[in-house]
């Protein structure tokens, strides 16, 4: 069955903008383009086009990773232009068509991408109203737009598309173009149903994994059995009996199979006889934290330095210290990474679900010694993406295989590849110290974070690594220094990150990178301090917070969770229920979250059951409240999974947790209830909601366990075995 229908489509609506291309109908986008469409950030047409039939095309460099941001971006554009949502089409993440708005990560899609889009729409709106004003002989501010039609005096009407001149919108972005008043919003701030959901519940939605091209072949990669193993010998005759094998592709240590059908590729990759060298380069996981502590420090980053914390600690009347660790996590998308690549001479077109189409283009260009312009990289939504997972790597795999067979090649990773070869959230270790004066005031706070060096840069493409090609990779754990600094007013504070030369498994960012680990340590340690000082966890935070918006969040949390009237746990019962609280001002500059977890602890078995979460969030302006609620639920549930049970396992050669049995995640019977209160500030900047809530889940669970049984959990995940050890340690001390 051929899902592709060639057709030509002319996006002629904005005059100068003429785009013609062969479109895979199922996906509604260009297969090959050599398009002269502006994509720079200073031009309205980079973001918007108005077609002759009135359709508004939104071009978004931010992509929908399964969060619903596509619908939210459409709401923003539709509302600012006063057109119905059904009149808007969104094209996302196409390096020939969409502006480079940076990586889709860090809860910035609305905060950055949405704000840019709104400004483009507002600039267009003003110009369109001016054009209509001229036509009507009326002042533009006397006009209004309804359902895509400008309405003037005497009920004169003109549709927006009729106002487009021969040169299209031809407008520079203008930050002074007036924005619609929130009082006039018709779509923004409303529970608009997501545009992608009907197709997703009926099977008509095209995921990356569903995308096909005519003549497309199927590829699978044969990964080494040890991370650094090299190929000694390949016996191609070992797959000779499989019908449909087109080619065994080898480049250095990159090895793959291309076949006419997917099953033949899978069987071939399993059956191919390969001798690999031995490689034993990973540390002993049982001593992971000693390894982290001993890893060479390249330099220190001091993220806050107030007063003299060393002196304050020396002169403190009391002191407290603790160490926190957070396990290595994998992304674990339900759909393994997938990409399709096609070469036409020295031009590469690649379809994939990578979160940064523009950055991946640079990496693919570098890998194959091409200019960026020779690579056309196109985003198609894949399974949920929570950071830099395997999609980029699958793109390189597909390109490596396609180059050898003169046909488009689709690669989908197998489950073991996804679990074994996606880059991991690195192991994170934090030492915390605090000092107090005789009156119980916190006088000193120090933290030392042990974390790999680097930022959210390019993560090397694994296929390129094996093929000994340079994909611009560098150590890139993500923006892991965020939220090492604290939101509390303490006179002497020093927070230091020791930037490590290496980490056992190739790192990258997974939802709330660094922020989650740092918040686990900060908010758990602050809870320890409060307990040490005999303060209520809420009161302690209110006392040291100097931020009115933050205090409002905490007060509303107290109301929502009935915090001040909460029952006192019976710490000696076999099963005890406790409540833990935490707060974050994300990266100290944006979304506020307050959270309470109610957890049940079984003293005998060590089993912890987080059964209810209360969440208050202030993310400024809310575009789609139901979308935000969906994200908050997802943040909580996914992070309950991470905090309670997830830990990547490895031996001295490779990752060994290669399926859902060895890397279990949350299942339905374990799912907690989530209760929330959203603060909407329609006049304010819309901050992100895609990850801040996640940052607080581990710490609220551990604080709840302390409340329940008086035992501190300082190591994620909180497995029953580890909790039992903590209980035994506590009973001995």
């Amino acid at each position: 069955m051929n899902a592709l229908i060639d057709r030509r489509r002319f996006l002629q609506g904005s005059g100068a903008l003429i785009v013609s291309f062969a479109l895979p109908l199922t996906h509604g986008r260009a297969a090959v383009t050599n398009v002269t469409k502006p994509v720079d950030l200073n031009t309205v047409e980079s973001f918007l086009a108005i077609r002759p039939d009135g359709e508004i095309i939104v071009y978004s460099g931010k992509v929908d990773l399964g969060t619903g941001v596509k619908t939210a971006l459409m709401q923003i554009a539709a509302d600012e232009l006063d057109v119905p949502l059904t009149q808007v089409t969104l094209i996302q993440g196409d390096t020939d068509l969409t502006p480079d708005q940076g990586v889709t990560s860090g809860s910035f899609s609305i905060q950055n991408g949405g704000v840019q889009l709104r400004q483009a729409a507002a600039t267009a709106r003003r110009a369109l109203l001016q054009a209509a004003g001229k036509r009507f002989g009326a002042a533009s501010d006397s006009l209004r737009i309804a359902d895509g039609i400008v309405i003037g005096p005497d009920n004169k009407r003109v549709p927006l598309q009729a106002l487009i001149g021969p040169h299209g919108l031809d407008l520079k972005m203008d930050k002074t173009a007036p924005l619609k008043s929130p009082a006039d919003f018709k779509l923004v701030g409303r529970d608009v149903q997501r545009v992608d959901i009907p197709g997703k519940v009926t099977g008509s939605f095209t995921f990356m994994q569903d995308f096909k091209l005519p003549g497309m072949l199927h590829g699978r990669v044969v990964r080494p059995p040890a991370i650094g193993a090299t190929i000694l010998k390949v016996d191609e005759s070992s797959v000779a009996d499989i019908p449909g094998i087109v080619k065994v592709v080898r480049q250095e240590n990159f090895l793959g199979i291309v076949a006419t059908n997917e099953w033949a590729a899978i069987k071939g990759a399993r059956q191919l006889a390969v001798s690999w060298s031995e490689w034993v380069g990973l540390p002993d996981q049982r001593h992971l934290w000693e390894h982290v502590r001993k890893t060479k420090v390249l330099h220190d980053d001091v993220t806050s330095n107030v007063g003299d914390s060393a002196q304050a600690l020396r002169s403190a009347a009391h002191k407290l210290s603790a160490t926190f660790d957070f396990a290595i996590h994998t992304h674990g998308s339900i759909g393994p990474s997938c990409a399709v690549a096609q070469w036409q001479g020295e031009r590469l077109t690649c379809w994939n679900a990578a979160q940064s189409p523009h950055n991946l283009r640079k990496q693919l260009a570098a890998t194959f010694s091409l200019k960026d312009e020779q690579v056309h990289n196109i985003y198609i939504e894949g399974a949920g993406c929570y950071g830099r997972n395997g999609h980029e790597d699958a793109a390189a795999d597909a390109a490596l295989l396609a180059r050898e067979v003169n046909a488009p090649v689709r690669v989908q990773w197998m489950r073991a590849e996804e679990h074994g070869w996606d880059p991991k959230g690195p192991p994170t270790l934090l030492d915390m110290r605090a000092g107090f004066d005789a009156q119980g005031k916190i006088t000193a706070w120090e933290s030392e974070l042990f974390i790999p060096n680097g930022v959210a840069g390019f993560v090397s493409l694994v296929g390129a690594d094996h093929a000994k090609l340079n994909s611009l990779g560098e150590l890139s754990p993500g923006g892991v220094l965020n939220d090492l600094s604290i939101p509390y007013a303490i006179d002497n504070v020093k927070t230091t990150a020791h930037r490590l030369e290496s980490t056992p498994l190739k790192p990258a960012w997974i939802r709330s990178p660094g922020r989650m680990q740092n918040s686990f340590a900060n908010e758990s340690f602050f809870d320890e301090i409060a307990a040490h000082l005999g303060l209520d966890p809420l009161d302690a935070r209110l006392q040291y917070l100097r931020d009115e918006r933050g205090k409002e969040v905490l007060e509303r949390l107290a109301t929502l969770s009935n915090w001040r009237q909460r029952p006192k746990p019976d710490r000696h019962a076999n099963i005890s229920v406790g409540r833990g609280l935490a707060f974050i001002k994300y990266e100290l500059v944006r979304t506020y979250v307050g959270m309470v977890c109610e957890a049940e602890v079984n003293r005998k078995t060590g089993e912890v059951v987080p059964r209810k979460f209360f969440v208050v969030q202030d993310c400024g302006q809310i575009i789609n409240p139901d979308g935000v609620r969906n994200q908050i639920e997802g943040n909580v549930l996914q992070t309950v999974s991470r905090a309670m049970q997830e830990e990547v396992r490895f031996n001295r050669s490779q990752v060994t947790s290669l399926d859902w049995a060895s890397y279990p995640i949350l299942r339905f019977p374990e799912v907690p209830e989530v209760v929330m209160d959203l603060i909407d500030r329609p006049q304010d900047i819309p901050w992100g909601a895609g990850e801040p809530t996640a940052a607080l889940v581990p710490t609220t669970i551990s604080n709840a366990v302390f409340d329940a049984i008086g035992v501190r959990l300082r190591s994620v995940p909180f497995t029953a075995e580890k909790v039992k050890v903590a209980i035994e340690r506590d009973s001995k001390s």
């Binding site: 399964g66 569903d210 989908q412």
Partner: protein
């Protein structure tokens, strides 16, 4: 090459395969272009590939095509367009999707379950969906959607 006669979504189809051990999933997706069932693990561990065989939920990623006897129904055959199955309708009403990759399995598992157990408790729904994995954390909405469908 072996040929099989199959009934998929009420239509008679002929499958021509090299290997009778090939899981049904690949035939549905690649030969029939039915993308409702999805490859998630190839191990029967996650449920993304779920289809109905004579009304029972099975994992098509590990079900050899040579063993298929009976009527196969995929998400597309469950309902589409204006003619949605009550479970599909409830998933839209509850907006019970994040990325949606697992949703095929959730809907197919739930639809088979509700046929056997039309008025389940929430706890029964949780137990029934226990083998199905969702990574985005949409579980609460999925539970609500299944409960809503059972009350429709």
């Amino acid at each position: 090459m072996t040929q099989f006669q199959l009934n998929v979504n009420g239509m008679a189809v002929t499958a021509t395969v090299d290997d009778q051990a090939m899981p049904l999933l690949y035939f549905l997706r690649n030969d029939l272009g039915l993308h409702g069932p999805r490859f998630g693990c190839g191990l029967g561990q996650c449920g993304a590939c779920t289809v109905h065989l004579d009304g029972a939920a099975i994992r098509s990623c590990v079900y050899p095509i040579g063993n298929v006897q009976g009527k196969v129904t995929t998400l597309e055959g469950l309902g589409s367009g204006e003619n949605l199955h009550p479970v599909q309708k409830a998933f839209i009403e509850e907006q019970a999707v994040q990325c949606g990759y697992c949703i095929n399995g959730m809907i197919m598992q739930a639809a088979a379950f509700l046929k056997r157990t039309p008025k389940p408790t929430e706890d029964q729904v949780r137990q029934e969906l226990r083998p199905n994995l969702c990574r985005c954390g949409t579980h609460l909405r999925i539970i609500r959607a299944v409960m809503r469908a059972s009350q429709a």
